[in-house]
């Protein structure tokens, strides 16, 4: 595997990124408040928005591909419809959707453009209606900042998992707002959670330099991915399409590729010159994108 594209254009640390369902477009956000939509195949920038705050730590692409959501130190999540009209300023049509009492750490659209799930440094997650900004459901239970969330990949289910600074990963029922299961085996903050493609398990990456796999039916941790030589925390994890490989970006500027079933490391990828802060596999599994504090994003295949 090697870098196939390098996206340069952010003037500061890249903090988050997300893929569009068309498998080639991505949205990325950075410390200086800029949110950029790229066609990563051609490396062209298609849209750019400047947020009124710095440290935009969360961004997400809408399922339809027509809007993006982002937020950070402004404690809010805003939705921007994407427009190609040169006369329209994207910031003009901005919708302020979520309101938290501390920084926004993660956001994700649910199955449609109409609802957004957010996680915040105030210890809660919340589900919002995009059009009205109404709070549909809130999720309390974490004892500290919630840093990440991921929606279950099921067409019938209604659950999501969140990870926080209280070292816990919690699975929630979106309808009732109740916590269904919780897992507490990490030694430090959980920076990233991602469901296994079948939806029966999820992986987490933490500051304790390990990634762990938790099975939902067995209700326990079933694997730890760690190596003595890895001492820096994992900031972002994602599975390949078949769930055989787990890609994890670390704060030591590297990406480690783990064999999920064997528990061993397959390879280590160098290239970034600062922390890897975001990592997502493309919707069809042909490549993955990593965003880093070295101001660039790389597509690996």
């Amino acid at each position: 595997m090697k870098t196939r594209r390098t996206l340069k254009g952010h003037g500061n640390k890249v903090l988050c990124m997300d893929w569009c369902k068309d498998k080639r477009r991505i949205v990325s956000s950075s410390q200086d408040g800029k949110v950029i939509v790229w066609d990563s195949f051609t490396t062209n920038k298609e849209h750019a928005v400047t947020m009124p705050c710095t440290w935009v730590m969360a961004c997400a692409y809408a399922p339809s591909g027509c809007a993006i959501a982002c937020g950070g130190l402004d404690n809010k999540c805003s939705v921007y419809p994407l427009t190609f009209d040169k006369n329209e300023n994207m910031a003009a049509k901005k919708k302020s959707v979520a309101m938290h009492t501390n920084y926004l750490s993660a956001c994700s659209f649910t199955n449609s453009d109409m609802q957004i799930l957010t996680a915040s440094g105030d210890g809660t997650c919340a589900l919002w209606d995009v059009e009205s900004g109404q709070l549909l459901q809130s999720f309390h239970g974490h004892g500290a900042d919630v840093l990440c969330l991921d929606l279950a990949p099921s067409e019938t289910g209604n659950t999501f998992v969140s990870g926080g600074c209280d070292k816990k990963a919690m699975v929630w029922d979106m309808r009732s707002g109740q916590c269904i299961q919780s897992f507490e085996t990490h030694d430090s903050d959980i920076n990233s959670v991602r469901y296994y493609p079948s939806g029966d398990a999820f992986a987490s990456g933490s500051d304790d330099a390990t990634c762990r796999l938790y099975d939902l039916r067995a209700d326990r941790e079933v694997a730890i991915y760690s190596k003595e030589s890895i001492i820096f925390g994992a900031s972002s994890v994602d599975f390949s399409l078949s769930g055989r490989l787990l890609f994890a970006g670390y704060n030591d500027y590297t990406i480690n590729v783990w064999d999920v079933l064997k528990g061993s490391r397959v390879s280590i990828l160098f290239g970034h010159e600062n922390r890897v802060s975001a990592l997502r596999v493309s919707p069809d599994g042909t490549a993955f994108c990593s965003g880093s504090w070295d101001h660039t994003l790389r597509i690996w295949a």
Partner: protein, 473 residues
């Protein structure tokens, strides 16, 4: 070395568990038996004791962790960047070179975790010393910082200069070798804590965590009631044996690995590697002849068939033949309700009722009486999840009844037989001539900007309704 470590009580602790681990590694590197063999290193004419070469460090790490040279060099570099090991030869650049360049371990006094945050006073004293020694000839950024500090802590400036002079005088009493070492130690410490402009700041952490104490959980009656309920549910929940779960992963893996482009490659070729977008064109929602892998995947589970717009269309055709197409339409309408705009919930629910559930409805779906009763009850105060039970009933009906028949049907078997296996792209004769990368129309283009009706409709239905035609190569 310097007086005044700054008030420790009020300052936030550097929350980096990696530093603890690095320190443990450093300690084991200095172990007299298993650690790095240190000896005297020559630096021009002076002899520095207890030093090692860059090569030694890299070799030791390779031995200890069984990692490659590249990884060992990378790890060593990070240790140097964090100031736990410093170079003697080129002290201004904290870089590990895998050659005979001499390095030394930083004294624990100056460890990143011990002496953090670095105080302005200490920095001022350090710069003042340098200033005196170099008679005003400081590096650009150090000069700027010096002037800034001079302005900011002007009231204690006399103390600063006095301290600086005293330390310089004491240093003159030492042997040359010791003086060099102490200088390097100090310089490394300040390179980490006050990096020059352009150099990455390894101590930067991002926004502070755990600083909000506003919405913490209140330990009151409600909280404990919830905890008891949660524990009760947890104990009552049936757990599956891990061995069975692991078998599940293996089975899933066997099924899906051939479909994983990163594991098994993709035909005709991975667009990211060859710049050829045929793979995407062939697998688009509007493709006329689906690939064999794609059609096979529809057989993995009902969810896979529904998730692929082409698969769903085929299912609809099949259901039409069986006169149960309204089931799929009902399910889709319920999805629209579940994920719809809050303001329109009541309307959508009413529309669903009229179309599918009311007696004499045009597309009546067959649900059992109990579910119908409960749904009607819920319709009095329609909410997002009012159709959940009915939707699940129909979903299970399709999954357990229609889906297996679909897989055995002639329609599906024909699809499988006619499905193509794209030939692998032949390797280009002149690989350095890159294929031109065509752009594709953005999905955002497909809704007229002012047409809010259409936009809401399409949004509710998700990507299935707005196919993106790919440019043919």
């Amino acid at each position: 070395m310097t007086i005044g470590g700054g008030p420790r009580g009020g300052h936030p602790r550097l929350q980096m568990p990696c530093l603890r681990k690095m320190e443990r590694l450093i300690v084991s590197m200095q172990d007299p038996d298993m650690g790095i063999k240190m000896r005297n290193q020559r630096l021009l004419i002076t002899v520095i004791p207890h030093a090692m070469t860059g090569n030694d460090i890299v070799e030791w790490l390779i031995q200890k962790y069984g990692i490659s040279e590249e990884e060992s060099l990378h790890l060593g570099n990070l240790i140097v960047k964090h100031g736990y090991i410093y170079p003697l030869k080129d002290p201004r650049s904290l870089v590990l070179r895998a050659d005979e360049s001499p390095y030394r371990f930083q004294t624990p006094y100056f460890w990143t975790s011990a002496k953090w945050p670095a105080t302005e006073l200490d920095y001022a004293i350090y710069l003042a010393k340098k200033n005196i020694r170099k008679q005003g000839d400081l590096i650009e950024h150090e000069k700027d910082n010096y002037n800034l500090l001079h302005k900011r802590i002007n009231h204690t400036w006399d103390f600063v200069v006095m301290q600086a002079r005293e330390q310089l005088r004491a240093a003159k009493q030492r042997r040359k070798g010791d003086r060099i070492v102490i200088d390097c130690q100090e310089q490394a410490y300040w390179l980490v804590n006050r990096p020059p402009p352009g150099a990455p700041n390894v101590l930067e952490q991002g926004p502070e965590r755990r600083n909000g104490r506003t919405s913490r959980v209140q330990l009151n009656m409600d909280y404990y009631k919830r905890e008891i309920e949660y524990c009760r549910k947890a104990m009552a929940r049936s757990r599956v044996k891990s061995s069975i779960c692991l078998e599940g992963y293996i089975k899933f893996n066997e099924q899906y690995v051939p479909h994983d482009p990163i594991m098994s490659g993709c035909l005709p070729s991975n667009p990211w590697i060859t710049d050829d977008t045929t793979y995407w064109a062939m697998n688009a929602a509007t493709a006329t002849t689906p690939t064999k892998l794609r059609v096979e995947r529809w057989g993995f589970g009902f969810g896979e068939l529904l998730a692929d717009p082409l698969g769903r269309a085929q299912l609809l055709d099949f259901l039409k033949k069986e006169f149960s197409a309204e089931n799929l339409s009902f399910w889709e309408a319920c999805e629209e309700l579940r994920h719809g705009e809050q303001a329109r919930i009541a309307d959508i629910a009413a529309a669903i009722y009229q179309q599918f559930l009311a007696p004499g409805a045009t597309r009546w779906v067959n649900i059992d009486s109990k579910t119908m009763e409960r749904t009607l009850e819920g319709m009095r105060t329609p909410h997002r999840y009012v159709m959940d039970e009915a939707q699940m009933h129909i979903y299970l009906l399709m999954k357990k009844d229609s889906y297996p028949r679909f897989l055995k049907s002639e329609l599906y078997r024909n699809l499988l037989a006619e499905a193509v296996i794209p030939p692998e792209t032949k390797k280009r004769v002149f690989p350095f001539m890159r294929k031109q990368r065509h752009s594709s129309p953005s999905p955002a283009l497909f809704l007229p900007a002012g047409d809010t009706e259409a936009r809401a409709d399409d949004k509710a239905r998700g990507p299935a309704a707005a196919p993106v035609p790919e440019e043919e190569d």
